[in-house]
Amino acid sequence: MNFWTRITNPEDRHPFFDQIEKLFKNRTGVAGLIIITLFVLTSILAPVISPHDPVENALYDQLKPPVWKEGGSTKNLLGTDDLGRDMLSRLIYGARVSLTLGIVSVGIALLFGSMLGALAGYYKGWPDNIIMRIMDIILAFPYILLAIVIVAYLGPGLRNAMIAIGVINIPRFARIIRASAIEEYEKDYVTAARAVGASNRRIIFNAIFPNCLSPIIVQASLGFGEAILSGAGLSFLGLGAQPPLSEWGAMIAEGRSMILRAWWVMTFPGIAILLAVLGFNLLGDGLRDALDPRLRD
């Protein structure tokens, strides 16, 4: 019963797919899924759909308002910033940055968090104590402060911001997986796996881990939104994406001095962040409803 190689071809679907089907019946989940699909499509198709080069300056078109305001033109649908760069194109390319940031930082958190959590939950005793106390220490730091410390140490930049956000999210995954692993450890099939001669590693990754997938998926989805938000926060503080890269948080930072003259420079990236985070949170809630056995009808 390897998770990846199988000798059987089940006619019936894996029980997991029934739960996915449930997700599609859940309105919040579907709403989240639609937003995220748009978000992903936007980032993939950025070069095709964006009307302008996001870093191209146009000195005669500085701070143009959006098309529906007086002085706006169809050339720049959402206006331009103080360097005359097209807002819409910058927002579209910003989706790419945010998506990468989400994938990488959640990936880091998921990989290390689930390994540490599974080890702690399986071995208990002193490995559990050491791992989870370190996790507690990380959690004790204010979230953004710790990220600032890590980025300050590694140096500002998008890559380091992603690493920092990944690291501070490790404890969340570790805790969830530890809790599920402890619960699954008590089940008879774990003893049964040991009784047929499976090694500890095999029991953890082949018997326990696949049974802990539901809470991991939910946390990954919620964590994705949170990572985008943190990334925007770090960029706003000048520690994440560096100019001229179009990142939503950095765009807000650039626009904040012009809020009274040109509200759109700051508002549109804010709405973009809001929508993306909302999408992942809605999906996360929908997934929780679909996957959590306690909420099953």
Binding site: N9, D12, A192, V196, G197
Partner: protein
């Protein structure tokens, strides 16, 4: 080495260090299982049957458990001295285990075929196709109808009886020498229970594997075992071949157990079912002397302070009671 037994447990002591003292779950237990025979290990809940089985498989969690003494010789080799990786090669391969709860002993996220395949792939170097063939063969052996399609089922798609057959197929997959069956039929309803017991008897004939059969059900033991050992509070009280034990029990505890089996339609109406007075002593506060003396109808003074030795009555019939000293 005199006679080679398939399994010989010598003076096994499995203790648990818990808050409040040491629990002697298995205390000085000795028995043998010969090739091709079924040994029944019978006793009340909490008497140490399952701990004995788990000690043989080295599945007792350490700590709080520990093997305080004794030897477990399987084919002449002490399994207690094997390294963890050597032990993994024994589990599921030479000694396998059948569990009580078919509903929870299978992993819910894998098909039953994959779970049987896992056992084979852990112990044999075979191609995917050969493994698949062996899984189907194992399913056929345990009389699961249409094995080619049933291997694709998830546990939740099967009934309790079918799942128990899958668990037996897992236990048989590597042709083990010894199967330890820990209450394999207890969680099933009576008709399915009879089918599973029949199946196990047939499989023993077909594969020649020995069975260590653990149960609290004397009726099941009578059907399955050639020899029987009766456990009480961590010690073996009496052991004999099945016919002798059922026909001529000697230990007051065994006699008490036999007379408390209800018999349908026999006996006068006013005659109540006889019981053994009292309750099993707590493992924390074992009585001095004979463990059974507080509940024994024939106990005398000596029983209250002197532990009875194991007495050999001949023909492999042993009993732990002062009556026969």
């Amino acid at each position: 080495m005199s006679v080679e037994h398939l399994l010989e447990v010598r003076n096994l002591k499995t203790y648990f260090d818990v808050r409040g003292g040491v629990l002697k779950a298995v205390d000085d237990v000795s028995f043998t299982v010969e090739a091709g025979e079924t040994l029944g290990l019978v006793g009340e809940s909490g008497c140490g049957k399952t701990v004995t089985a788990n000690s043989i498989m080295r599945l007792v969690p350490i700590p709080p458990g520990r093997i305080a003494g004794g030897e477990i010789l399987f084919e002449g080799i002490d399994v207690l001295k094997l390294t963890a990786s050597e032990m993994r090669k024994v589990r599921g391969n030479k000694i396998s285990m059948i569990f009580q709860e078919p509903m929870t002993s299978l992993n819910p996220v894998f098909t039953v075929g994959d779970q049987v395949a896992e056992v084979i792939s852990l112990h044999k170097k075979l191609s995917q196709r050969e493994i698949r063939d062996r899984v189907i063969e194992a399913f056929r052996l345990v009389r699961i109808p249409a094995p080619e399609s049933r291997i694709n089922d998830y546990p939740h798609q099967m009934s309790g009886g079918m799942r128990q057959r899958v668990i037996i197929a897992m236990a048989l997959a590597c042709n083990p020498k010894l199967m330890i069956a820990d209450e394999p039929s207890t969680a099933l309803d009576v008709t399915i229970q009879a089918q599973i017991l029949d199946l196990m008897n047939n499989l023993k004939e077909e594969t020649g594997a020995s069975i260590l059969f653990i149960t609290h059900d004397l009726g099941v033991i009578a059907e399955m075992a050639q020899r029987v050992a009766v456990m009480y509070a961590g010690k073996i009280m009496e052991a004999a071949d099945a016919d002798t034990l059922f026909g001529d029990p000697q230990h007051p505890y065994t006699i008490g157990l036999m007379t408390s089996i209800p018999v349908l339609g026999i006996g006068k109406k006013e005659k109540r079912l006889s019981t053994i007075p009292g309750v099993v002593p707590s493992l924390f506060k074992l009585p001095p002397g004979c463990l059974f003396n507080e509940r024994c109808s024939v106990a005398h003074k000596e029983c209250g302070h002197l532990e009875p030795p194991m007495i050999d009555l001949g023909h492999g019939h042993i009993v732990r009671c002062h009556k026969y000293a």
